[in-house]
């Protein structure tokens, strides 16, 4: 399998007044295409920071980041936005849907920024909504959807731009366990289709539904192991 993500000696520190908070202290890892990786760690371990750097939402102080053979370095805002649009899909803990747009419009938005025509955009968005099982909810506003449905819309939106890597930051953090498993089932299905997915979580059961677990503590990787994946469908009645 080709290498999808490669990071070498990644450092990140935040300036808090006169103090400097060293969050990532030299991270090295590789992820191959089609992997489903859980990044675990207690709060403050740097897992979200790592994900933000991988998502080009934040910049590292030093180290290399190569995404599918493209070095991600010294990006200006415009370039970063284009890369994000082309390479990455995001799923956030708090869904981050645009509240005055319908489910369909939310899913179609990344395609709008890819300058895909309206008809094609809507057809494609509808296909992804169907994939997450929300075809009937296409014309509903986020406020009319349950938490699980919102997250599934967010996943559909992340997938709509056909990214190389899907980044999920605590995707089940705001959901009850049944809904969490449903969302994880969806993520596993998407992974089964060959998509590379990184999931940040602090829940053991969620992590075990991935294929590999990376443990972060105090800004370094303390454990990196492949596991036998537990299918979420086993938990869903």
């Amino acid at each position: 399998m080709p290498t999808m993500i490669e990071i070498k000696d990644l450092h990140k520190s935040y300036q808090m007044g006169s103090n400097s908070l060293h969050v990532l202290k030299g991270i090295n890892f590789k992820a191959e295409a089609g992997e489903l990786v859980a990044i675990m760690g207690s709060s403050g371990s740097g897992k979200s920071t790592l994900l933000n750097i991988l998502g080009m939402l934040d910049e590292a102080n030093s180290g290399d980041y190569i995404l599918d053979g493209v070095p991600i370095k010294n990006l200006n805002e415009t370039k970063a936005a284009q890369y994000r649009n082309k390479f990455l899909g995001f799923v956030f803990q708090s869904f981050n849907l645009i509240n005055y747009k319908t489910a369909l419009e939310n899913v179609a938005l990344p395609l709008y920024y890819q300058k895909v025509g309206r008809k094609e955009r809507e057809a494609k968005a509808m296909r992804y909504l169907e994939q997450v099982g929300l075809r009937e909810w296409a014309n509903h506003l986020p406020s009319e959807l349950s938490g699980g449905q919102k997250q599934r819309v967010a996943i559909a939106r992340a997938m709509a731009s056909e990214p190389k890597v899907l980044l999920a930051d605590e995707p089940t953090g705001a959901l009850d366990s049944t809904t969490s498993y449903e969302v994880m089932e969806l993520i596993q299905q998407i992974n089964d289709q060959g998509n590379t997915i990184l999931v940040v979580t602090h829940e053991e059961d969620i992590a075990h539904m991935c294929k590999r677990i990376i443990h972060l503590r105090d800004g370094v990787i303390v454990e990196d192991k492949k596991i036998k994946q537990k299918r979420a469908s086993e938990y869903v009645q």
């Binding site: 939402l57 934040d58 995001f90 803990q93 708090s94 981050n96 645009i98 709008y112 300058k115």
Partner: protein, 410 residues
């Protein structure tokens, strides 16, 4: 930037954020509306002003006799100055280049009688040219003419209210009235917008008046009508020349200020025009103050709008919106709203001024308020441009925020 998709996106945003759209639109529309109303009212005030001072001809200099206050060339002070027919003739021959006409006024109070009705009126012995100095409008009959003056006819032109007082419903033309013991034939009836008093006057030939008063040649006032082409400077020059000429002729000390008085309508007019100009300036300053207040208002709303949308901007950036797209979308949206509502405010304002018309003329001295389309459009465009500038600054800042900061949880 201007493709259909962008606009579809903008209209969707406008349509789904009605309160925000309404707030910013309302501010702009109201600002323009107030500006146009204020500015138009100011113009209406000035119109009233102009009307006030255009009732009498403006190319007139009045000369009133007085008493000397300084001894000069053997004459004691406190000498009464009088004008007579020779003064009229002398001024005529000495200022032929300047004059259009010169008329005397002999003002007398007289009891007028017709059948049982009688009343006391002010009579004015005048020359035929006085009609133009006072812009007297003849309702019926005619004004005094050359023949009346030369032949010292006993013809009288009476005011509209004199006719009503004395003749009631009867037609006064051709009737004879007793005027202080002499019989006069009514040859004309005039009207005057100056008010009741001016319509209770009677004009007779000044020569007839002099004949009645033992064939004297004295007159009360001189009314000098000069050629309008002289303009303000010419009129002021004529005034000082006239002053010098009369002082010389009547042996009056050059520094004597009480021997006679001159009222130059042009000078008054100029002062009044300056006053009106100051008024206009004040109105303009207040009106543009309103525009500035509107600009500040729309700026505040833009800052608020961008702040409210920070998270949305973060989301959009995370899924691939470039800073340029973000800024242009926000700006196009705000310019669109301000343009539409600005022009709506403008049209309402202009419509309001039109509908007011002369309704406020009597009570508030505002006649025919109006605003030129150029000024209205300029103010509207000014507000739109500054609204856009005010929106650009926070929009650019918002577009620069890292999505991670914008998305940080609430």
């Amino acid at each position: 930037m201007f493709n259909r998709d962008t606009w579809r996106e903008i209209f969707a945003t406008i349509g789904k954020n009605k309160l925000r759209t309404f707030l910013s639109g309302f501010t702009v529309a109201l600002g323009i509306l107030i500006f146009i109303t204020l500015y138009g009212m100011g113009n209406g005030l000035i119109n009233t002003f102009d009307q006030f001072f255009s009732q009498d001809a403006t190319n007139v200099i009045y000369v009133f006799p007085g008493r000397t206050s300084l001894p000069y060339k053997g004459y004691k002070s406190n000498r009464t100055i009088e004008f007579d027919n020779t003064d009229l003739a002398d001024i005529k021959t000495n200022f032929p280049m300047f004059l259009e006409h010169i008329s005397p006024i002999i003002r007398r109070s007289a009891l007028a009688k017709y059948k049982q009705e009688s009343n006391t009126y002010t009579t004015f012995g005048v020359d035929w040219g006085q009609q133009f100095a006072e812009k007297t409008v003849i309702m019926k009959g005619r004004y005094l003419n050359h023949r009346d003056i030369e032949e010292k006819t006993r013809n009288a032109v009476i005011g509209r209210l004199v006719e009503i007082d004395l003749f009631g419903a009867e037609n006064a033309l051709g009737k004879y009235i007793d005027l202080g013991g002499s019989v006069f034939k009514v040859i004309g009836v005039f009207q005057d917008e100056g008010g009741d008093n001016e319509e209770r006057q009677i004009f007779i030939p000044y020569t007839t008046r002099q004949l009645i008063e033992k064939n004297t040649d004295e007159v009360d006032q001189l009314v000098v009508q000069f050629k309008p082409e002289l303009g303000y400077t010419g009129a002021m020059a004529l005034e000082s020349n006239l002053r010098r000429f009369l002082k010389d002729k009547k042996y009056i000390h050059p520094d004597d200020r009480n021997a006679f008085f001159i009222r130059n309508v042009t000078d008054n007019l100029k002062q009044n025009q300056e006053f009106a100009g100051a008024l206009q300036l004040i109105v303009t300053v207040v009106a543009f103050g309103t525009i500035i207040a509107g600009i500040i208002g729309i700026s505040n709303i833009m800052v608020y709008v961008v702040k409210e949308r920070t998270k949305e901007i973060g989301i959009r950036k995370a899924i691939g919106a470039t800073p340029k797209t973000v800024i242009s979308t926000i700006l196009l949206e705000s310019v669109f709203i301000t343009t539409i509502s600005g022009f709506i405010g403008m049209l309402i304002g202009i419509g309001l001024l039109r509908s007011l018309g002369d309704n406020l003329a009597d009570d508030y001295f505002i006649t025919n308020p109006y605003i030129s389309i150029g000024v209205a459009v300029f103010a509207t465009v000014l507000l739109i441009v500054f609204g856009a500038v005010a929106g650009y600054v926070p929009a650019r800042r918002a577009a620069r925020i890292k999505p991670i900061v914008a998305l940080r949880d609430e």
